[in-house]
């Protein structure tokens, strides 16, 4: 049973990628919708398995670490698997209706989509440093492919910039892996952690290289320059996937590395530097979001800012009490989940709005509130989560992080969290303000189908309601970042 579920998680999307590669966009759509159902069921199955059986390791192909590749199925991984299932299903559902099926290149959307899903699942589960690298590369290439699909000049420029930067980021990560392998002779993260704890080997450069490379790929300030063009130019469902999930994959690996190896290899100053960069991202990203003239650029810069919060994990988990560290981890996990849901909703809603007014400019939104109140409302609900207002998941996340920062005595991060909330309110309401403008030159609005409007609403409601179910989620995280059996 376990084998089948794990295989379902990792190989079903690959199989679907192979199948949809042979189909047209329209046929691929039906097959993919079926596949999403399968995938969601499998994800839920694995979740129930973990609830029932607890966290476990699973050697692929019957080979355990360190010889083979071992999957590490724990609460955190399951949360991310479920999150992926939710956001990817929403974006895929939306894309099936949103993308223009007459364009011949759209048929490549589905295989890329499925490869992306497969790679995301592999990153959440893998406990092997090199396998993570391969997973990351699959993610990068599919994301680049999705951005570039259609091949307009703008898209190509964004995709090329993204590709080149992401490749160098991967190279930095791989160099770190090479050094780790040279030092320890193994690739399994769990084994490396054990060995490091026993022998106390210094490995600052490898860790810095891996974290640096991953930070580039997660668009940490000031290395975020590639993100807004890429996320802004992609089709809206693709932007939703990118902001919601793709960026999180590299952060996830960085977080895993930090929590496994940081205590030995990291230093207080290093953690503070990462925290400061995250804080700078919050301020800088929000400020630029305020300045953007295009709707999707606003949302994209907001991602830069929101990702900044995640990097508070580093200072808040080093040299603090167990309880505070746990609080910070829970807060960051919640922030990832709620941001993924909210940003997915935001991009999809923005896509609907743009579809309706036929322009990507913020100023073109004047009067759209009368015609597309539903999408505008979804956008606002998602904004509530970004601002960190109750009862959204963003609020619960912010609450936990604030508590962690006060309890650890690092009150300066609390200021960042509060300022970030204020700034995000400003850019969200700027969009609202633009849509409330009375006089609009546009009399004719395109009405997207209701189901297109429904998808972002569901995501936004999930982001909003997340705060109501924090406790069950946190129990799943009861032992976050794995305790239990190390092989």
């Amino acid at each position: 049973m376990t084998t089948w579920l794990m295989a379902g998680l990792l190989f079903t999307p690959l199989a679907w990628a192979a199948i949809t590669l042979l189909l047209s966009f329209r046929n691929g759509r039906w097959v993919s919708w079926l596949g999403m159902l399968v995938q969601v069921l499998v994800s839920v199955g694995v979740w129930l398995l973990v609830v029932d059986r607890g966290e476990f390791y699973h050697g692929l192909g019957g080979w355990d670490a360190p010889l083979g590749i071992e999957l590490r199925v724990d609460g955190l991984a399951i949360i991310f698997v479920l999150l992926t299932a939710t956001v990817a299903t929403a974006c895929g559902w939306h894309a099936g209706m949103y993308l223009d099926s007459d364009k011949p290149w759209q048929k490549h959307f589905w295989p890329l989509f499925w490869f992306l899903w497969a790679a995301l699942n592999s990153v959440w589960l893998s406990g092997d440093l090199f396998n993570l690298y391969v997973g990351l590369e699959v993610i990068t290439l599919t994301a680049v492919g999705l951005v570039a699909v259609g091949g307009q000049a703008d898209a190509l420029r964004a995709a090329l910039r993204y590709l080149l930067v992401a490749l160098v980021g991967s190279m930095a990560y791989l160099l770190g892996v090479a050094l780790v392998y040279g030092e320890f002779g193994v690739l399994s993260l769990a084994v490396v952690r054990e060995l490091q704890a026993e022998n106390g080997v210094g490995m600052t450069l490898p860790l810095a290289l891996m974290l640096g490379g991953l930070a580039v790929k997660s668009a940490l300030f000031p290395m975020h320059g590639w993100l807004p063009p890429a996320h802004g130019v992609a089709k809206s469902p693709v932007s939703g996937l990118m902001s919601g999930l793709v960026v999180k994959a590299s952060f996830y690996i960085a977080a895993r590395l930090w929590l496994e190896l940081g205590h030995e290899a990291g230093s207080l100053a290093l953690a503070q530097v990462l925290g400061v960069l995250g804080s700078a991202a919050v301020v800088w990203g929000s400020w630029l979001a305020l300045r953007q003239k295009k709707l999707k650029q606003v949302v994209a810069y907001s991602s830069v800012a929101q990702i900044g919060y995640l990097f508070l994990l580093f200072p808040l988990t080093l040299s603090v009490s167990e309880a505070v560290s746990l609080q910070a981890q829970q807060g960051v996990t919640l922030q990832v989940v709620s941001h993924a849901l909210a940003k997915g909703a935001m991009f999809l809603a923005a896509g609907n709005l743009i579809l309706s007014v036929r322009s990507g400019e913020v100023d073109a939104l004047a009067g759209v509130g009368r015609f597309l109140p539903f999408s505008l409302f979804s956008f606002g609900l998602a904004g509530v989560s970004l601002m960190g207002l109750p009862p959204s998941g963003g609020f619960a996340a912010k609450w936990l992080l604030l508590q962690a920062s006060l309890a650890s005595g690092q009150w300066w991060w609390a200021l960042v969290l509060l300022a970030g909330g204020l700034l995000s309110a400003l850019y969200v309401f700027r969009i609202y303000q633009a849509s409330f403008v009375q006089d609009s030159d546009l009399d004719e609005f395109y009405h997207p189908p209701r189901s297109l409007e429904l998808v972002p609403m569901i995501l936004a409601l999930l982001a909003l309601g997340l705060g109501l179910v924090v406790d069950p989620m946190l129990t799943l995280l009861g032992r976050p970042f794995g305790e239990g059996s190390v092989p």
Partner: protein
């Protein structure tokens, strides 16, 4: 200091060269080549460093070789993809650099396009 370590240090040098080239060169093809040099350097480090010391006879660690093989395929794929993108980009815009003036329509008049360097990435 074994012979294998020489490969590792060769890799270090290649890595640094590739990095410098990647930052300094602005032509996309050159950038891509620099990336490949960097990649080769890292593969050399991976293979060369893995077999230092220890009891095993040199050249007998198959794992990094397999890793490098995988890494090469990934690098080749990425390179090929980048080449296709670059070719099409060149076809559409006639440019070989990621210049910034046309990054988006929002900044159009207040910049003198001549004064700006086409930057490294």
């Amino acid at each position: 200091m074994s012979a294998h370590l020489l490969y590792a240090f060769g890799g270090v040098v290649l890595c640094g060269m590739g990095l410098g080239g990647f930052i300094l060169l602005s032509h996309l093809l050159r950038k891509l080549l620099a990336f490949n040099i960097m990649g080769s350097g890292i593969f050399l480090i991976l293979v060369g460093l893995a077999q230092h010391g220890g009891g095993a006879e040199p050249g007998m660690d198959p794992v990094p070789q397999a890793l490098v093989l995988t890494g090469i395929v990934v690098a080749v794929s990425a390179t090929a993809l980048a080449l296709v993108l670059i070719r099409r980009y060149y076809y559409l815009t006639g440019q070989t650099v990621l210049e910034s003036s046309a990054e988006s329509g929002r900044r159009n008049n207040d910049d003198d396009p001549g004064s700006r360097k086409d930057g490294a990435l």
